[in-house]
Amino acid sequence: MAAPRAGRVVVRLQGVHKGFETENGRIEALRGIDLEVRAGEIYGVIGVSGAGKSTLVRCVNRLERPDAGRVEVDGVDLTSLEGAELRRMRQRIGMVFQHFNLLRSRTVAGNVALPLEIAGRPRAEIRQRVQELLEWVGLADRWASYPSELSGGQKQRVGIARALANRPRLLLCDEPTSALDPETTASVLDLLKRVRDEMGVTILIITHQMSVVRAICDRVAVVEAGRVVEEGPTSEVLVRPQSEAARRLLGRSGPRRQPLPDRTPPPPGQEARLVELHFVGETAKEPVITHLVRRFPVMANILSGQIDRLGGTPFGVLLVELTGKPGDLERALTYLREVGVIIQEWHEEVEER
């Protein structure tokens, strides 16, 4: 499910610093951010509020001017752009906001038309493009409604349609689902996924919700106190969080803190291995454990487990004790890795945490 890593770099941040003067002195929002987002991927930036992630995304279209460092989009350094050049660049970058930021004086169609008017497109083209976009986000019948007549989810669909109007190759999303209920969140995330899959738009998404990262991000950066403290493919970060910040965001000291049930010692000649199995995406839909015990002479004893279904993407963690001959165990684990399960071995000292 991960996008090809070979894609060219669309967004590159190098050593980005940004501070603000406040009544209580200077706040360093970003303290040297390095980041690369590649074409066609959905890249998540996660952190608690105040971590600087919003400032980060606002540096990418220069709503904020970095104090130091470089911000490149499509190889162009935005920090040196001014006036018309900067505005032309911004027209090529879509942005979706937490609070939608729709004009209440304009209809749905009028809101989607705004970026096209700003770009100076001819009237006929605007009408056609607006129609096309509204059909695409499923709001063609609401074109004449005002934002005040729409639900939160519908407003965000309009926001997404508007952000795509000028056919950007990059979409910035600042907490796009934080003002929505869980059900609506899932449908908006599905829509964003379609933006990438069907239009090939690269997406940089800012969130404080691990569920958002889990649902759609290919890669994720964890931001804390203005720094990237951890970065990598989503599955890696979810399974083996290296930073305290990531673990806190995962809220997953989960099964580790639960006392393990008493286990019977393995029969002679056999061995028991305690493994944590992580299922992400498609593998979570397969009856992997059933296949495992049918194909290999091993026993699988499920000690604890949790399955999330977020944004239509299942994500599961099982703590399993596998019992069998050492060779069979190895083959079983190899099989699990082959079908895409991420395995973390348990050691007794881990239990003590």
Partner: protein, 219 residues
């Protein structure tokens, strides 16, 4: 009490003068005050045309304009009025000080209306690559329309009050009628009729303004 046809005729003429003075002065003051209000908002720190010095100077001019009592302003700018319309007496002449006094007033009202516009919406337009001009025409002004109409209503009603003082330069109008006939000649009937007409006029302006603003409000 019987109101004589003469009083009615005087009142009718005075009403027409008031409507003319207030109407023209409101329109001209909006034309002058609107750009000033837009500049006050957009040159503020952190805004699309941020220029702290210009913002400061404009604010100072507006405050000075608003500090001068209308009756003093009217007399003080008589040379300007005479230069502009050729006379300093009459309804047309009264429009000049009314407009000049209302411009800084309108500027502040426009400023407060535009400051109510959601900063997020302005930011969205900036993120789309809009020029400051586009942000003003496509976001600030349309988003503030209901509030701007209510502000214009307040201006018009304030000018009805100011126009009473325009009698001092022979400007005519309902206020002038009330002072000269009703007060100075002890004509209680004239006083009552003019006050009644003024009440109806102010009510009417407020009703129209509120109705129009509500019709256009998409909140």
């Amino acid at each position: 009490m019987i109101i004589s046809p003469v009083v009615l005729k005087l009142t009718w003429e005075a009403l027409q003068e008031t409507l003319l003075m207030v109407g023209v002065a409101t329109v001209l003051a909006e034309l002058g005050g609107l750009p000033l209000g837009v500049l006050l908002v957009t040159t503020a720190p952190g805004r699309i045309l941020a220029s702290p010095r210009l913002h400061h100077v404009l604010g100072l001019i507006v405050n000075v304009g608003r500090s001068i009592p209308f009756i003093i302003l009217m007399v003080a700018i008589i040379p300007f009025t005479r230069w502009l319309v050729g006379t300093s007496i009459g309804t047309t002449a009264a429009m000049v000080p009314l407009t000049v006094a209302a411009i800084p007033y309108v500027a502040r009202l426009v400023e407060s209306s535009l400051n109510e516009v959601d900063p997020g919406v302005v930011e969205a337009a900036v993120a789309m690559g809009a020029t400051p001009w586009q942000v003003i025409w496509k976001v600030y002004l349309p988003e503030a329309v209901p509030s701007l109409i209510l502000g214009g209503t307040i201006t018009a009603i304030t000018l009805v009050g100011y126009s009473a003082m325009a009698g001092a330069v022979g400007g005519g109008g309902l206020g002038d009628l009330a002072i000269r006939y009703g007060y100075q000649r002890f004509r209680t009937d004239v006083m009552l009729v003019t006050v009644a007409v003024l009440v109806v006029l102010v009510q009417g302006i407020q009703y129209l303004g509120s109705y129009w603003a509500r019709r256009l409000d998409r909140r």
